[in-house]
């Protein structure tokens, strides 16, 4: 278990055709994860975090680079993909959309068991998965439809549907952002418990740094297709080094002590990645003249920082 990483990503690039050229949604990502680890992948909309997640579970083919899973490169033929999609489960943001409204909760969980031909008694497997996801007694939920249960319970059904396949990796894309605050904590506690019990690795894609503080062992911050900072949650969130991470932290509502650094504009366009450091057009260090004082402004504008934290000021 502790030997080879569960997941290794090398120089990964994922591109989409766009109206004007190519969108480089993932643009040179290197990343590793181990079993039993919870990693939060954070960034704004459009930073490529969802594309990266989709590539990891095999829904998206990389243009370049490699995804290695349990030591082996991820193939894109039918068979490898089917196996991979059992071992790496994706959980979506909106449980209502993820469930078929005309399927009972039993069917929703049993479907994966049938497709993946999981050995064992189907009913026992479904009951066990529902119970582990906190839906007890499970039999009470078998014949219900998604609309008959609450949003939190729907997300538990989705989690049960993933866990019944006994995956090695769970990729959860904003798993609680469509849920009420009161329910969020309950679902996060469930995910934390499942990771501790089963040693599954969990990658949580989110824009919510509070969630990362709540459950993640490690945090990777993504900006415009690249991981710009990475580290243990406590270090990274209490002593961020990249100016982008610092800006993200400064706008978290509870962060009272720090001065807000509200970046102007939205995450920029992956079809036009700026030259030099991709963050430089929005970087507070460049704007305030701090980069000039450090004598690195020219490099910020012309040299792509190919290291992590990806900031010339940190390296200087």
């Amino acid at each position: 278990m502790t030997g080879a990483p569960l997941l290794e990503i090398r120089d990964l690039r994922v591109e989409y055709p766009a109206r004007h050229g190519v969108a480089r949604a993932v643009d040179g990502v290197n990343f590793e994860m181990r079993s039993g680890e919870i990693v939060a992948l954070v960034g704004e909309s459009g930073c490529g975090k969802t594309t990266l997640a989709r590539t990891i579970v095999g829904l998206q083919r990389p243009a370049e680079g490699e995804v290695r899973f349990r030591g082996k490169p991820l193939g894109h033929d039918r068979r490898s993909l089917r196996d991979h999609r059992r071992a790496a489960q994706l959980i979506f943001q909106d449980p209502t959309g993820a469930l078929n409204a005309r399927q009972t909760i039993y069917e929703a969980v049993a479907e994966g068991v049938r497709i993946q031909q999981i050995p064992g008694d189907e009913e026992a497997l479904v009951a066990d998965a529902l119970a582990r996801a906190g839906l007890r007694p499970p039999e009470r939920f078998f014949t219900r439809y998604p609309y008959e249960v609450s949003g939190g319970q729907r997300q538990r059904v989705v989690i049960a549907g993933a866990m019944v396949l006994n995956p090695s990796l769970l990729v959860a894309d904003e798993p609680v952002s469509s849920l009420d605050a009161s329910v969020r904590g309950e679902i996060l506690a469930l995910m934390l418990r499942l990771v501790r019990e089963t040693e599954v690795g969990m990658l949580v894609v989110t824009h919510d740094l509070g969630l990362a503080w709540n459950v993640a062992d490690r945090v990777a911050v993504m900006y415009l297709g690249r991981i710009v900072e990475e580290g243990g949650t406590e270090d990274l969130l209490t002593a961020p080094r990249h100016p982008y991470t610092r800006a993200l932290l400064s706008v978290v509502p509870e962060a009272e002590e720090v001065e807000r650094q509200i970046l102007t504009g939205e995450a920029p366009d992956p079809t036009r990645i700026p030259s030099g450091c991709r963050f430089h057009p929005r970087c507070p260090l460049v704007e305030s003249g701090e980069a000039a004082r450090l004598g690195i402004e020219e490099r910020c504008r012309s040299e792509d920082p190919l290291f992590v934290p990806a900031c010339h000021a940190v390296a200087a």
Partner: protein, 339 residues
């Protein structure tokens, strides 16, 4: 916040901009009807920001809709909603149309879909202006549209864009500009930032704060995100099962909640850097009650960690819970119920 030197009791004494008394909203259904709002009192002074928090289904959006009579036909709304002293609930349709937009405007939840996709955003704002001030010249309307867009931080030339050409944050800005088109004194913002990214959310919140200070707008801010409310609002009201269960200055309510429900909500927002939240996500077990079958006594008692014997049989009301604060809990300092 206000420009004049503040008297001892700054806003409470003057006639409020909005005053809600014993508001009830009941949706029609087979049988007795579904009580979504069950007796709410609220006051909002000119230039004051009030946050309204609670889980889905607590009645906060029904309350917002009732303030401008925007609820589906057949919904029963009783009580008083006094806007600048005039009762919205008894207004004639013509007067109501005038009051919406010019006195009070609403920015909706899921607002990203409330723009017409086949009309330029400038025309949509212009339409609101034309309908509410007849005989304005085209040039004057388009000048005003440009001013409004600049007010919300967009270049005036974006008036020619269609909604799909704008990002989520930009569309939300257009909607705020649209709401301000007829210079209302009250803005109701129902989950205005929920669908937005953190950074864009911060931009929109800063914009609302700026507008509030410049024009002395009264704002009612509705969201389940208690941490955002604590930051942008002066006062905070927490709703549960159709009633306000706690009210007071927002910092105090968020940091030292008097009601166990508020405590659970506040605890659901982790404070980064605080070890108490590390690897210990906190939530509130159970679901909000079905408004048709409310628990007896305090409707929160089945989910409450602090519930005692009397809670299942005591009728709770907003009792004093410190200076300028109240809470509907038998444990509140001013509760008359012995526990």
């Amino acid at each position: 916040m206000s420009v004049e030197p503040a008297p001892a009791e700054p806003t409470r004494e003057v006639a409020p901009l909005l005053s809600v008394r014993d508001l009830h909203v009941t949706y029609p259904s087979a049988g007795a009807g579904i009580p979504a709002v069950r007796g709410v009192d609220l006051d909002l002074a000119v230039g004051e920001t009030l946050g309204l928090a609670g889980e889905s289904g607590c009645g906060k959006s029904s309350l917002a809709g009732a303030l401008l009579r925007l609820l589906p036909r057949g919904t029963e709304v009783t009580g008083d909603v006094l806007l600048d002293g005039e009762n919205v609930l008894t207004m004639k349709p013509g007067r109501l149309r005038a009051v919406r937009w010019t006195h009070a405007a609403i920015v909706f939840q899921g607002a990203l879909h409330s723009l017409n996709p086949v009309q330029r955003v400038g025309n949509q704002i212009g339409e609101a202006i034309r309908l509410h001030s007849r005989g304005v010249s085209r040039a004057a309307v388009s000048k005003r549209v440009g001013e409004l867009l600049e007010l919300v931080g967009l270049p005036a030339r974006r008036a020619r864009d269609y909604p799909h050409q704008l990002s989520g944050g930009q569309r939300q800005r257009v909607l705020i500009g649209l709401a301000l088109a007829c210079e209302p004194r009250l803005l109701i913002a129902d989950e205005p930032t929920t669908a937005l990214d953190v950074m864009v959310q911060a931009q929109v919140l800063r914009l609302l704060d700026d507008l509030q200070q410049r024009f002395g707008l009264g704002i009612i801010f509705i969201t389940h995100d208690l941490s955002t409310l604590a930051e942008v609002c002066q006062r905070l009201a927490v709703m549960y099962a159709g009633r306000i269960v706690e009210e007071g200055p927002s910092d105090e309510v968020f940091e030292a909640p008097a009601h166990p429900y508020t405590r659970a909500l506040a605890g659901a927002f982790p404070v980064i850097g605080d070890p108490a939240f590390r690897m210990q996500p906190a939530g509130l077990p159970g679901d909000p009650p079905d408004p048709r079958y409310l628990p007896s006594g305090c409707p929160f008692h089945p989910r409450c960690g602090a519930a005692v014997q009397v809670c299942s049989s005591t009728h709770v009301e907003l009792w004093p819970a410190g200076p300028d604060r109240s809470a509907a809990c038998v444990h509140a300092p001013g509760s008359p119920v012995p526990v």
